[in-house]
Amino acid sequence: MSVASDRIVEGFESTGHGAFVEDFDESAGSMTINMGPVHPATHGVLRLLLTLNGETVTACRPIIGYLHTGIEKECEDQNWRGAVTAVTRMDYLAQFFNEQVYSLAVERLLGIEIPERARYIRTMIAEADRLTSHLVWFGTQALDMGAMSGMFYGFREREMITDFFEMVTGLRMNNGYIIPGGVWEDLPEGWEEAVATILDVMPRRLDEYEDLLDENPIFLERTKGVGAISADDAVALGATGPILRATGVDWDIRRDEPYDAYADMSFEVPTESAGDVYARYRVRMAEMRESLKIVAQSADKMPAGDHRNMDPKLTPPPRSEMNRSMEAVIHHFKLMTQGYIVPAGEVYTKVEGPRGELGCYAVSNGGTSPYRLHIRDSSFVNIQSLPVMVEGGLIADLIASIASIDPVLGGIDR
């Protein structure tokens, strides 16, 4: 038996408080307890080791790994095309961003360009995905602050957008739609109407959300000045996305290091200065409106043409061609049994996900599967800011801070 489990058994028997109390120091009046990994407010299987003095949190240590599935290792056994299926399952609320950052990496290693239409489709679908992700954040943030109706509203609108995803990709989640070389299928008939419905409904609903929360005294009391982090701390801890922009650091990869079609889009990067939960709420609400702008622009400017790179070494030939051409049959056979070869090299690509910088470090040794694939998940890095936000505050404010980081454990643990 190991030292670690010895300690747990001892603690379990001696305190008699149950397994969630790790330590109880009667003279100092402090208690170390476990919050999670199955606590409903930790948004998954996040475990927090909290040292409490009364209701004040004096120390907070996030413990992760309960959802570790070894996706990075699994990708090494897939071919380059097949790994899309694995990476999309990491941060399951931002599935298109995972696929996008991985595809950008493989395209850079291959040294290929993708058609204009594919770049616009990717941009449009990724921004719609940012909306779905932020709507889940809205629902959970409101729910954790006691406004249960927020949850229903957020998920109602999210359902409308996931219906659009289903229409385009065939699936609501884990789509595997963005692939190296473009996107899997062209947009289906009637996509313009679906986008128009989203663009018509969403602004009104966002107004409704703000009506619900902006002047709600309970919500304001629980978010203003709560869980604050300074810009210096946020930068030092590597926080990105809405957490960083809520402290006043004006950094957005979409604008500062543009990829896909973002260079052709005009949008604002909302920032706030307070760095508290309320500032993060304001930033995300403003971001949703900007996302709608980008969806509208990319739908308006949607170019005609191929939806993926039609190089036969990369894309299987159309079925009709395979009946006539031996060449096409060979290409199809090679792609299906072996996959394409990616030249040796390494690359780091990054996209602005809903939670911040999502990076992909890919290494190829000239084979048909990734030699090493590492995803820099934004939640994994952002969760390190939690202790700074909550230490010295109340345990109830901890709930608000976790919700405002918007962690996705599938991404943290990978």
């Binding site: 058994v9 397994a19 030092a236 090299g345 390494e346 690359v347 470090y361 090493r372 820099r376």
Partner: protein, 174 residues
């Protein structure tokens, strides 16, 4: 075999672990930030070393990115830690240690982060036997059955715990 000249990021540098600490202090003062750090097993890449820590740096004012390969030296492969310069490297170094077995000298809490502390081996290494390593978790106290007439403390004669944490009590005289 990979030639370094064919290696193709915009900007990449290799440096031995012994130089990394001094360079890191300088880079931190110049305003570079660590955005990502991960372990790399270069067994099949044709380099004359095996393990690296790959650091992705970002300079926001210059809008520049830079990849630094820090070559791990010694056995176990060791790289100096930079958590005191960039606190964000804390989790990243723990992840590289856990999954790749790269040690970070000077890290205040270099423990496993994804896998249980009792885990053996480092799964992202190329010689880690996928499918050959049995996945077993150490049974925790709440998994044990404490029924009348049964002794469930491990180590006693006649009591075994199987790989799912279920306690098996052998019948007396069986």
């Amino acid at each position: 075999m990979v030639e370094r000249a064919d290696w193709m990021p915009e900007r990449a540098d290799w440096m031995p672990g012994s130089e990394w600490r001094a360079r890191a202090e300088k880079l931190e003062q110049e305003g570079w930030l660590v955005m990502d750090l991960c372990g790399l097993d270069a067994r099949d890449l044709g380099f004359d070393h095996r393990f690296e820590a790959v650091v992705q740096l970002l300079h926001r004012e210059k809008r520049e990115r830079w990849t630094v390969h820090v070559v791990a030296e010694g056995d176990p492969p060791t790289v100096p830690s930079v958590t005191d310069l960039w606190p964000t490297a804390d989790f990243m170094e723990r992840e590289a240690y856990d999954l790749m077995g790269v040690h970070f000298e000077g890290h205040p809490n270099l423990t496993r982060i994804m896998l249980p502390e009792e885990w053996e081996g480092h799964p992202l290494r190329k010689d880690y036997g996928v499918g050959k390593v049995a996945i077993e978790f150490i049974p925790q106290p709440f998994m044990q059955i404490d029924g009348p007439g049964q002794s469930t403390s491990r180590g006693e004669a006649g009591v075994t715990v199987d790989h799912l944490g279920q306690v098996k009590v052998e019948e007396a005289g069986a």
